[in-house]
Structures are given as C-alpha cells and as structure tokens.
Amino acid sequence: MPVSQETLDRIALTADEYALIVQKLGREPNEVELGMFGALWSEHCGYKHSKPLLRMLPSEGPAVRVAAGEENAGVVDIGGGLSVVFKIESHNHPSAIEPYQGAATGVGGIIRDILAMGARPIALLNSLRFGMLDDPHNRYLFEGVVAGISAYGNCIGIPDVGGEVGFAPSYAGNPLVNAMCVGLLPEGGLVRAAATTPGSTLMLVGSATGRDGIHGASGLASRTFGDGEREMRPTVQVGDPFLEKVLVEACLEAARSGHLAALQDLGAAGLTSSAVECAARGGTGVEIDVALVPRREPGMTPYEVMLSESQERMLLIVREGEERPIADIFERWDLSATVIGRVTGDGLARILDGGEVVAEVDIKPLSEPPLYRSEPQRPAYLAALHEAPLPELPPPTEAGALLRALLASPNIASKRSVYRQYDHEVQTNTLVRPGEGDAAVLRIRGTAKAIAMAVDGNGRMAYLEPYAGGAMAAAEACRNVACAGARPLALTDCLNFGDPERPDVYYQLAEAVRGIADAAKALGVPVVSGNVSLYNESGGEAIYPTPVVGAVGLLEDADARLTAGFVEPGDAVLLLGADALDGDPASLAGSEYLAHVHGLVIGAPSIDLALEARVQALLVALAEARLLRSAHDCADGGLAVAVAESAILGGVGFVGDPTLTTTLSLPRERGHDGGRWDAALFGEAASRVVVSCAADDAAAVAARAEAAGVPALRLGSVGGERISLGGLIDEPLEPLAEAHGTGLERALAG
C-alpha cells in the first residue's frame, strides 16, 4: 500500500476502504482524490453505518413534496401554495472543542441547508445537552454554547423560538448541540440542488476560502477523541453571522431571479461534497478550477481548497450565459460571486489547478460509500437496570419539598436565563414564545394558519431502553405540537450516539431508529430530514444514546392555538391519557425524580403508541373545537411538575381533588396493594397531558375523550394561590415559582 496508515487515519479511512477505492478507480488515487474520498466516505457525509438503518423511517406522506435524502432538507406542503422546509443537524464535536464557535457555526450551517432550498429561514430551535453544572468545565461549555447560538442567531435576524436544555453526567466533555431551522417557501419558490444541465456555470459566493475546518467531516465528526481534543481547536471554523445574513438576502434574491438552475450550501467537506452531491443528484459531472477560487491566504494547495470548511459559502449553479445578472445581485450586497467551473456531461469530478488536472474521478464511487451493517448486540447493562427492583429508597421527605426540589432541578427549571439571550420575536410572527407553551407557534403571514414546532429527546429513557427512547422522542415532539393545538405534519431527527462499530452502541442506534420509525408510523407523520452524529464518547464511555426529534405541525386557524399556563380561576383541570393515579412503580423508570432525588437511572421505560396517537388526535380536535384553555404534557417530573408548571405559567393556583390518591401508600409501607405516591406524583408514564377548560365544558371534554378511547381523569380546578394535589401536596405557589424561576441560575452560580 503506497499510503501510510497515518495518512489514512488523518482522513478516517480504513485500509480496506483504501483497497476498495483502488479497485473502483482501477489505480491508486492521488493525494487530492484520496482527500475527496476521505471526506465523502466519512460517516458525517456518507452515513456509512446509519444509512441502512435510516431506511426504516417512513418518508412518504400526502403533504411531503420533497422526501428525506433527496435534497438538503425535506419540504412539506401546508396548503395555499406554501410549504415549510426544516431540518435538524448536530455540531457536537466542534462545540466540545470550542463551544462558542462550534455552536455558532452549527446554527450557520443549518440555516444554509434551509436557504439552499430557496426558503427564507423563519425559525431556529435547538436541543442541548451538557454534563452536570457542578463541574466548571461543563459550565464553560454551557455558557459558551448559549453565547455562540445567541451571537449568531441574533445577528442574522431569525427568531430562536424554542428547544430544550438537559443535563446528565453522561454528557460531560461531550455536549450535544443540535440546531434546527425552519424555512418558509412561497409557491413556486423551491430550488433544487441537482446539477442537471451540462454547460451550466458553477459560481462560488460568500466568504473567501481559507484553511479552516480541513478534515472537519472526516477527522472531527467521524471518530472519537480523547484528551488531546483541545489541540484540534484549529480545525473548528469561525463563524461570521453578518456575512451569512447578507448571503441569505442575496441568495434569496438570486433564487427568485429565475437565473439559478440549482443552489447548494457548503458544509462538511466544503466544495468537495457540495459539487459532487449536486452532480450525483443530477447525473452529471463537474469541472472546477481551484485557481479561480478566492482565497483567504496565499499558498493553499488544491487539496486544501477542495476540503476547506470555511463558513458562509454557497455554490450556485447558474444557467449558461446568465452569470452577469447573478453577479450583479451579489455585487449589490458587496459579495463576491466567482465562476469556478461548470457542469459537464461526462460523470466525472475533474479538478484543475490553473488548467492542469489535479484530480479526476467518477462521481459515482465518490458519492456511493460502502455501507456497513454491524451485528447489533443488546448491551449487557440493560438487563441489570431493568430488573433492579425499586430499591429501599430512603424515606422521602414530604411531597411538597420534593416538588420544590424537582422544580429547581436544572433539567426542569425555567430556561428563561437561556432564551432571553435569543431574539425570539424578530420577523414578528411568534404567537407562542419560549416558555409559554409546549411548542412554539408562528403565524403564517397573509393566511389564517400558524405552524407549531418543538424538539425533544430523552437520553435517559433511550439509555434504559433504546427502542422506547426513540419512540418517546418522536411521540413527545408530536405531543408538544399537539398541545399547542396543531396537527403534527412531519419530523426531522438527529441521532446522537457513540461509536457504531461497537455492537452495543450499534444496537442502541438500530433500536432507537426502529422506535422513531414505529412512532412516526403510528402517528402518521413522515420523517423528512435528519442528521446522524456518531462517535460521541469521551474516555471510552459512550454518551447516553440520544435520539432528538423535531416536529412541525399545522394549525389551520392560528386562533385555535393553546399555551401551557392555566388561564381562569374556576376552570376544570383534567388529565388525558390516564384514568387513575395508580402510582405504578414502573412509571418511575428513567424519571427525573429517581435521578435527581435518589441518584438512580433504572427501570424499563415503555410507551403505548396506539394510545399516544389517540391522545394527540383528541388534543387537536379539542383545540379546534375551542374546548380547552390550556394543555401541557407530563414529561420530566411527571404529573406534579406538569400541574405546577401550568400554575406557575398562569400565575394562578390549583385546587386538586384530595380523594385521588387515597389508595396510595408511602414507599416504605410494605404489603400495601396500592401504588406508591411518589410514582403517582413524579412518575413519567408517557402519553399524558394536563388540560384545563371552562368548568361548563368539562363534561364535553370528558365525553369526547371517552368517544376517542382516551382515558381521562378529573384532577381539580384552577384557583387560589396554592397548589394542592391529591392530599399529598399543599404548597403556596410563590416559593414554587421562585424555585422554578431561579433553579438554573442557582445551579450555574455553583
């Protein structure tokens, strides 16, 4: 073999893969060609380990205009000629090394994916995970990531409307930074990223190309790393949100001009993947002269130009002879638009350097990396954690104090200190803002419609049962959208896992995808886009397997939207999805209560997808019939936390029916047939939603629930300045609100 193992390691290719390249080419690749293969065959670009699994996900649906994988993002019809485009993407490894720039460029990257479809980006969301905040390094990562998202998103004028932030020891040193962007496409506005016509011109626009980010796709995103990670800081790109803002405006003008044949972003693996993917989609070839590419620094080699991941660049495929009007648009915005090559009909990627050919390979092998299907092996830890009997928990303090402690837990506490750093109102469409509801709601200007969006994932659940964790992530994202009164339309997923070459991690990945697929089918929502982030481990330990799912839903009438806070004293409060507080100990599986109060991550989570689908359909129907005043799902912290949050958000108390929990026992009382009261209050059984409605409508809500086959339970009514629940909790609202409002900031203060 003429290349050293060291060279292969740098681009994360195996010796077998090298042999395969030689076989496909019929010769040895040169340095530039090998670099291109390394980038395109990386896990990040090529989905070598995940593609066979992703085929499980349902991708078709009546509203789907462009399915997952066809283009940069999926496109979903919302009626009236309009479509939404959305996708979620990870930037975990760069954020671990350089949190501010890693997170900022993650936001920048996902915006360009949406822009590449010709859509105006209208919303950002993000899903973040960190190690525990008592470690100063985790605090540094957390503050850096939030500051990076804030700086990039605010500068660019796209509202950051929602998301989630979670903490667990498993993410120490390997934070998860998943950014989602939603765009709006006018009728006829869709731009493809396929280079279909030979002779079209390739124009590179935006930033000049530098040496930053070389090997980002192969080196950074596609393998694990250890203690030397900080030395990799030079491979993290630096973002320029101002340039991206101007690029968005200029590209949208270009997209509407009629001169563009296709538009493609430059992300991982830069010009290489951008050009090769366009040609592969169009069944054509490309010829690029790297000497024409504007450089940030002198002396760059063709290899460096082709693999640079400099940010804020887009590739335009312009109809032959129409370059001038395109250049004029970019000139008006003080951006360079440079002809760097053309589309060819020969199916080759031909790279020139001032006329001299420096690489020439078939598009086909470049864009078709080998796919691996490992043998999944159910991790040994699962049996032990499932069978762990709920141990002799220390006698809990009184329930009110537990509720206060949970409300102050960083996983549950208000994220106001985070989202007040994000502009969530620019573009003046945000009807439901962060912290107000289970999903963000944005109106669609010029129509009566609105869209709701949420992003969810629970690594603890997925760790305890990967299939259930995947299903629960998809179900909760849709449930949150349904709690806003919107009918879930489609999903995007971001799969954050460890090293897929480990059979136990591969099992987690495969099972979580199967769970997402089953939930998506049960709920009737296709998965239209996504991203895979593997090799998330530090020091040999895989992170919690963390499937994160983003959902977008539609409200035909924006006025039917719901928020989570109680509204009117005297309103009835019901639980949908359960007809008793039976305190089943199994519902404590993976709960925040066990983790935060008892330091335990045990149990076997599960979800009934048929029930979930009925609950969500009921919620949407109740919202459309204007029968509800609020809806909030039971998630982290269970029923007690859900009720408390609705009260805190509404600024009004809750009076619970004291007889609801009379059959429950204290955990220590043995021989009692009833359930445990801690499980009744803090258990996290899925598919449950706390709703409130006018007292006069309570019977109608219960009747509709019964007709829909959804169990329901009257919990009590809105009112007063205390929260009383089942005779177990009776607390003044104000200290609970204080705990919830300041918990995260207190944890940050150490």
Partner: protein, 236 residues
C-alpha cells in the same frame, strides 16, 4: 392619500420587514425599503432606521453604517425638521452619526436581552408621543446586546433640562429603579430625542408591539403619534 415611510436597509438590518408590515398592515400607510447605497429618500414623509446588526456591529454598532451614502439624505431630512425614528440598531446609527448625543455600549450583563420591558413616557409631545401622557407606562419588547446608553454628565443634564429624554425603563408601576434597567443605561434611558424633538432614538422595538396576538399594542402609541404628525405635515 397614504403617506410614505422610508425604511433604510443597511447590510445586516433585520427589522425592516417588521416595520414595513406595521406601517402598511396596521397603519395603512405606504412603506418603502430604501437601500443604504441610495442617495435620495424619494419624497418620504418619515424616515425609519430599523433594528439589526448593520455591518455585523463590527467595530461598534452603527459605526460603519453611518458612512452609508443614504445617511447624508437622512441628515438633511432631519435638519429640515422631518420625523426620523431609529430603533435598536437605528438608535445606535443615529448616535454614531451625531444626529443624537451619547453612545450605546455593551449591556451591563454582557449578555443579549430579549424580553418585554416597561417604559415610562417622559415626554408626551409630537411627533413621537403625542398620543401618550407623561408618566404612562408602555410595555414594549427589547432585543439587544448593546443598549447601555451612556452620555457624560453635562450632556445628561442638558437632555434632562431640554426634555429630550423620551422613555425610561421602569417597573410595571412606572417606578424608575435599578432593577428595572435591563442594560445599565444611565438614568434608565431607553430613548431620547434631538433638541428639536424631531429625531427619536430608542432601543425598544415599538414595531413588535402593534398587534394583540403578538403580545400587546403599546407600540401603536408611538406609531400612531408619528402617523398623526406625518398627516399634519403632509396636509392629509
């Protein structure tokens, strides 16, 4: 006859469409986006410098935008008594260009703040607050990282003496307290006018508070006040 509002667009501006929607959909007037490379305001009755990050706020917020060709026309318009409102980045541009005194520095918290803020109307007068009464409390969103208003003691005294302070950050009850100050501005200043009173700079975003569905309509007090003046000036 509707009157015309020129909304200046610098590279990096992002509130221009929000202003345009408020002016056309809510006020029923005409909005025209004027690119920073233009030299002429095309017969506008009012000029809006909207929010955003012109030139990425590089160097200092507003420091580069003030050299844009259009700014000469904006200065001429202002000097001729035409109403000019600069919100957020627009306020920063007005300060940098010398149309308003003082400067806007990094928020005291060193963090960006996006939240609804109470403002006390300090001066109820045309063209920006004629529909308010002194002491009224308005609820209007802020969204900025550099809104910490600074002026030297002499300038501050002059602003007070001339009644140039338009709005101060306050509590819901209208009390001007340190806790109610989101960015560290001197004297809780949220907005000021020039001496003639026809140029207003404010950090809050009145264009975001013009519809009940978006969380309030207090911004209309400012927009409708402007509209009244513009109508009078245009003889509509």
């Amino acid at each position: 006859m509707s009157t015309k509002y020129a909304i200046v667009v610098f590279p990096g501006t992002w509130s221009e469409r929000d202003w345009a929607a408020a002016i056309t959909d809510v006020l029923g007037e005409t909005a025209e986006l004027v690119f920073h490379k233009e030299k002429d305001l095309a017969g506008a009755d009012c000029v809006v410098l909207p929010g955003g990050f012109s030139y990425g706020d590089y160097l200092r917020p507003g420091a580069i935008a003030r050299f844009s060709p259009i700014m000469e026309a904006v200065a001429d318009f202002a000097n001729a008594g035409g109403p000019v409102i600069g919100s957020c980045n627009g306020f920063q541009v007005l300060c940098e260009s010398g149309l308003l005194p003082g400067a806007l520095m990094r928020n005291r918290s060193l963090q960006f703040r996006c939240q609804t803020q109470h403002l006390r109307v300090e001066r109820a007068a045309a063209p920006f607050t004629s529909l308010a009464r002194e002491g009224d409390v308005l609820s209007i969103p802020i969204s900025h990282g550099d809104g910490n208003y600074h002026a030297d003691d002499l300038t501050l005294a002059r602003l007070e003496a001339n009644g140039q302070i338009a709005f101060r950050y306050c509590t819901a009850d209208g009390e001007v307290t340190g806790d109610a100050n989101p960015n560290g501005s001197r004297a809780n200043i949220a907005g000021i006018t020039n001496e003639a009173g026809n140029v207003l700079g404010l950090m809050p975003h009145p264009e975001r508070a013009v519809e009940a569905a978006l969380g309030g309509t207090d911004g209309l007090v400012v927009l409708r006040s402007i509209q009244e003046t513009v109508h009078e000036r245009a003889g509509v």
